[in-house]
């Protein structure tokens, strides 16, 4: 149903964008598949982590990180347990959940987005009120939630930002996860999950305004904690790959930024995140924001846009400076101090970073 070629959409679904890879994997995959899975667990792991198939098809890595985490995640889904991806913002939780759903069910669109306003209807079912009034409670008047659809069709449903939902809405999932059934008392029926149904939730433990999960719900998940990239090289690799991909998707005429520029942005992010310079000599104030890898990626794509439309097509210091300041300084008073200290104590001292220093200083008229 979602395999139609992406016709002029801003962002195709994973199963659309990587349809060729999925097809190649399915063709060469001779290992046993759990009921209703499009691929074997082993092939799902390969899809996520990348590799080369025997027929020569190159599978691009979707998630760059520790193999065992992905293995545990896939194994969890194969045992029809629900999977909870936990981690700081920007650690590719949503990204991983989308690709897992795409690889397992071939459909990553069954999605419940958790917000403070998410209601129980989004998790259970709602009603088409016009028909409800006209016909009374009938199956036709029922509006199934993505969860109900996934249960009926045996697919993976994603619950994004689970901890942003009000706690009582979260708890509506308990029956679904333990009994694998969703009763509809109005109609006197229930929807029982068929094999293949499972749930991938993402949550972050860092942000403000989250609703703690009840331990009853938490027990029904297997938890995988996604870490921030362990080394600078790993982070540079992630940023490079994503920036190139995004540039392509946005059809930017600018060249992807040079590795040196990427490395520099990543270094700024890592240093501010850890509160110490790379050489371990200088202690830094840590800004209030999370400074995720995703943030670094957006700084660079933003720089590409600037370079393409207002610059010479080459991403340079001036192009990334604005995004960098915006990413670091989330709270003007506290983060402003941290950023200025960093500029003066670290960026200024690095002779090869002079251009970045000047570009950042040019932005900030109040300090001059």
């Amino acid at each position: 149903m979602t395999t139609a070629p992406p016709a002029n959409v801003l962002r195709p679904h994973a199963e659309q964008e990587y349809a060729a890879e999925l097809a190649a994997l399915a063709a060469s995959d001779d290992r046993p598949r759990p009921p209703a899975w499009k691929l074997s667990p082993w092939a799902v792991v390969s899809y996520v982590l990348g590799g080369t198939l025997t027929d020569g098809t190159v599978i691009a890595p979707k998630y760059v990180g520790v193999r065992r985490l992905v293995e545990v995640a896939v194994a969890t889904l194969a045992t029809d347990r629900a999977l909870l991806l936990l981690g700081a913002p920007g650690t590719a939780k949503t990204w991983l959940s989308e690709h897992l759903a795409a690889a397992i069910s071939g459909d990553s669109t069954l999605l419940v987005q958790g917000t403070a306003g998410t209601s129980e209807e989004a998790v259970r079912y709602g009603w088409n009120y016009a028909r409800l009034i006209a016909e009374g409670p009938t199956p036709g008047a029922l509006v199934p939630s993505p969860v109900m659809t996934a249960m009926r069709d045996g697919k993976v449903v994603r619950a994004e930002e689970l901890t942003r939902m009000p706690a009582e809405v979260q708890d509506a999932l308990i029956t679904v996860l333990s009994e694998k059934t969703l009763p509809v008392p109005e109609l006197g029926i229930e929807v029982q999950a068929v094999p293949g149904f499972t749930l991938v939730a993402t949550a972050n433990d860092r942000d403000r305004g989250v609703n703690e999960m009840s331990s009853a719900l938490k027990r029904r998940f297997n938890t995988v904690v996604l870490p921030l990239p362990a080394t600078e090289d790993a982070e540079v690799e992630i940023v490079t790959r994503r920036v190139a991909e995004l540039g392509r998707a946005l059809q930017l005429p600018a060249e992807p930024p040079a590795l040196a520029e990427i490395r520099r942005v990543v270094q700024v992010f890592r240093e501010l995140r850890s509160g110490v310079t790379q050489d371990g000599r200088t202690t830094l104030k840590t800004p209030t924001g999370t400074l995720s890898t995703a943030g670094a990626i957006s700084v660079l794509t933003n720089g590409m846009t600037l370079a393409a439309h207002f610059g010479d097509g080459q991403v340079n210091a001036a192009d990334v400076a604005a995004g960098l300041v915006g990413a670091v300084v989330r709270n003007p008073t506290q983060d402003g101090v941290a950023w200025n200290e960093y500029l003066e104590a670290v960026v200024r001292e690095r002779s090869e970073w002079r251009d970045l220093y000047r570009a950042c200083r040019d932005l900030d008229v109040t300090i001059e």
Binding site: W42, R68, E71, V72, A75, A78, T79, R219, T223, V224
Partner: protein, 740 residues
């Protein structure tokens, strides 16, 4: 005659199981094991030992030279030794003698470099089999095997190793000289055994050596190779070991990273994953963490699914750990660290029976422990000793003596301060302490004499004066009267040579404590008395000279030392000594060029001791405060830390008061900021009380007028003028003045 070579992985439970099965099948007349021949005579104790234990070989003439061969319950060598003991078959160790190993100056010489092929042949083999993790590959192929013909397994291992060595040689590998000699020694061992007419011989050695032992070429080359090796005198014994120590590399090559898991593999033959998860859950529950049976079920399911994805037939430790983290720990690393420490590694401590030969020092230690009912344990334990009780005092003495020997079994948590009889200790025994005991055996045959010898030796070597004073205190705490003469002699010698009076003064408090409180421990303190006397003489003679030309920092150090020494003399000094000490202080007080802060302090101490009259003190105060810049420091030294005292001590109060009210207007203006600064060191409440006291009336308990240049008689006050002065003084003292 048949020789069967069983190639094992050291500390591999699968190998151990296979060795046991193979030995049962073979029923050999003689068992040869890779290991030092010196361990042979120790094998008669095998039945009484509780692993983990280690064979310790040490060279008595060369302290610090020692090597270990640790054995866990799941070590194939241990199982072979146990089999021999149970079946009544002789067992012999055929590696190079420890006497040769310990004579080798290129280090105690254990494992070859782990990245070399001989260091980790299985890594090469598993890479050849397409696995990136050799541990896991070996585990899958051997350690997780529960059945099958063990002899077939060993034949396969021999074949694989032969191939591997050929491949390695093609790759440019050559055996090291040491390795060649080891294999020659093992071949000679096999030859000697076969000459004795044994029918069935089993050889247990590391898998890598199997090809070298499988065939026996003429003995001549081996004999040549082994001739003329340097040797040292060696004695060997059993020592207890811990699971944690098994993770270190020693003796049989690299350590195992998860002894607890291997022990689990060894003890369980079915439902390995289930039983492991059950133990994890039990541990978590014991620590009041949630771990429901339902979660345990899901953990096992997940571990099996992960194993399937990784292409393993059974979940291993890494799958189980991943699953435990995801399900039971809900992604939290903290409980996982607990599981790692308690289960994956474990806290087992081996037991060696008392009749195993030991060095005299160790025997004395064990006898003392028994007498005091004080048992070494691997876990942390807190005890509180009451030094009035004989047993506790002896325990404290033992712990202190052991610390001097470098055996930090106990750590003092609550130091014995003046007047208390309690001493808190945090105890934790580490198996390497046994080694330390054996190494320290050269110092003496009993703990007491060895500790005394150590103290004596250190006193002779100590470079710093303060190190010796620390030794004095340590010696007294450890109750080593035998060591005191040497220490005090060293102390006296150094005190003669040192020109640093501050150092000498810093040495006073520990000595004084020994003298004053040493009786708690019933120490003979006459010697200390003598040293203290001689040091004090030196201090008194040198104090004024030492107080010259000090910068601010040195002056502060001098001030601290002075106060420490003063307290020490107050504690133990005779009247005569106190007088000499006061004279020295007076010398400093009179000395032009001494730091004002020290001078002020000396004047104050003299005043308190009644050696200066208030008038004299006041005069000095006035003189010092007239000098401007130095006045603050002087006043600080004078008033230091005595806010409350100033409130209660009326003579002192009056002294200050008289000086202040005697100032001319101009002089008062000049002194005011200095005063304010000096008084700012007192706490707020103290200053407020001073203000109250000033307001309440001037002279408190004063017997007569002592004003200098004042207005005259007490009863001749002009109240309103006095009030004005008092108000200003009150402000100066930091109080507030209420309008009346």
């Amino acid at each position: 005659m048949t020789v069967t070579v069983l190639g094992v992985r050291h500390h591999g439970p699968g190998s151990a199981r296979a060795v046991r099965a193979a030995l049962t099948a073979l029923a050999p007349d003689l068992i040869l094991i890779e290991g030092p021949p010196e361990a042979g005579p120790l094998m008669r104790y095998v039945d009484a030992l509780v692993p983990p234990v280690a064979v310790l070989a040490h060279a008595p003439d060369r302290p610090g030279r020692a090597a270990f061969w640790p054995f866990a319950d799941f070590s194939p060598e241990w199982q072979a030794a146990r089999f021999a003991a149970q079946a009544g078959r002789p067992v012999r160790f055929i590696d190079l003698p420890a006497a040769v190993v310990l004579a080798d100056d290129s280090g105690t010489g254990d494992a070859p470099a782990p990245d070399s092929i001989s260091g980790d042949p299985l890594a090469w083999l598993s890479r050849a089999a397409g696995h990136d993790d050799p541990e896991r590959w070996w585990e899958d192929v051997v350690e997780h095997r529960l059945g099958g013909d063990p002899l077939e397994l060993f034949a396969a291992i021999a074949e694989a190793m032969t191939e591997l060595r050929v491949a390695a040689q093609a790759d440019g590998w050559t055996a090291s000289d040491r390795e060649l000699r080891r294999e020659a020694a093992m071949r000679q061992g096999i030859r000697a055994a076969s000459r004795e007419g044994c029918d069935q011989i089993a050889v247990i050695c590391g898998a890598w050596h199997v090809p070298a032992l499988a065939s026996l070429p003429p003995a001549r080359a081996d004999a040549d190779l082994l001739r003329g090796q340097p040797r040292v005198k060696v004695s060997a014994t059993w020592v207890p070991w811990t699971a944690e120590r098994l993770t270190y590399a020693s003796g049989y090559g690299a350590g195992v990273s998860s002894p607890g898991w291997y022990a689990h593999l060894w003890r369980t033959s079915d439902h390995i994953a289930e039983r492991w998860v059950a133990r994890v859950a039990a541990l978590l529950r014991e620590k009041d963490l949630a771990a429901s049976p339902a979660s345990a079920v899901e953990t096992v399911r997940l571990a099996e699914a992960v194993a399937a994805i990784r292409g393993r037939s059974l979940p291993g430790l890494s799958e189980l750990t991943d699953a435990v983290l995801a399900v039971l720990c809900q992604g939290d690393q903290v409980p996982l660290a607990l599981i790692n420490g308690q289960l994956v590694i474990g806290d087992e401590l081996g037991v060696v029976p008392q009749d195993v030969p030991t060095v005299p020092l160790q025997a004395d230690f064990e006898a003392t422990c028994r007498r005091l009912r004080f048992r070494p344990a691997a876990a942390y334990r807190e005890v509180e000793l009451d030094l009035r009780r004989d047993t506790d005092r002896d325990r404290s003495r033992l712990l202190h003596r052991l610390r001097l020997l470098g055996i930090y079994w106990g750590e003092v948590t609550s130091a014995q301060s003046s007047g208390t009889f309690r001493e808190g200790w945090l105890l934790r025994w580490r198996p390497e302490y046994v080694v330390a005991l054996i190494e320290r055996a050269r110092y003496g045959t009993t703990i007491g004499s060895a500790a005394a010898a150590v103290v004596t030796e250190r006193a002779g070597q100590a470079a710093e004066f303060s190190q010796i004073t620390a030794l004095v205190e340590a010696g007294v705490r450890a109750d080593l009267p035998d060591a005191l003469p040497a220490v005090t002699a060293a102390l006296e010698q150094r005190s003669a040579r040192t020109g640093d009076i501050a150092h000498l003064m810093a040495a006073m408090p520990p000595l004084a404590r020994v003298l004053r409180y040493g009786s708690v421990r019933q120490t003979d303190t006459d010697l200390v008395r003598g040293v203290l006397d001689s040091i004090l003489v030196r201090i008194c003679a040198g104090l004024p000279a030492a107080s010259l030309s000090l910068d601010e920092q040195a002056a502060a150090a001098m001030l601290a030392a002075l106060e420490a020494a003063d307290a020490a003399i107050a504690l133990v000094g005779s009247a005569e000594q106190a007088a000499a000490w006061r004279a020295a202080q007076r010398g400093v007080a009179d000395l032009a060029g001494a730091p004002p802060v020290v001078q002020g302090r000396c004047v104050r101490l003299l005043l308190d001791a009644g050696l200066l009259t208030p008038d004299e003190a006041q005069q000095r105060l006035a003189r010092a405060l007239s000098s401007g810049t130095e006045a603050v420091a002087w006043l600080e030294g004078f008033l230091r830390g005595s806010g409350t005292l100033l409130l209660r001590d009326d003579p002192l109060w009056n002294l200050l008061d008289d000086w202040l009210s005697g100032l001319s207007e101009a002089a008062f203006d000049a002194a005011l900021p200095l005063l304010r600064r000096s008084f700012s060191q007192f706490s707020g409440p103290e200053r407020r009380q001073m203000g109250v006291k000033v307001r309440a009336g001037l002279a408190v308990g004063r017997s007569g007028p002592a004003d200098q240049g004042g207005t005259g008689q007490d009863d001749d006050w002009d109240e309103s003028r006095v009030r004005r002065v008092l108000d200003v003084v009150a402000i100066a003292l930091g109080g507030s003045v209420a309008d009346e």
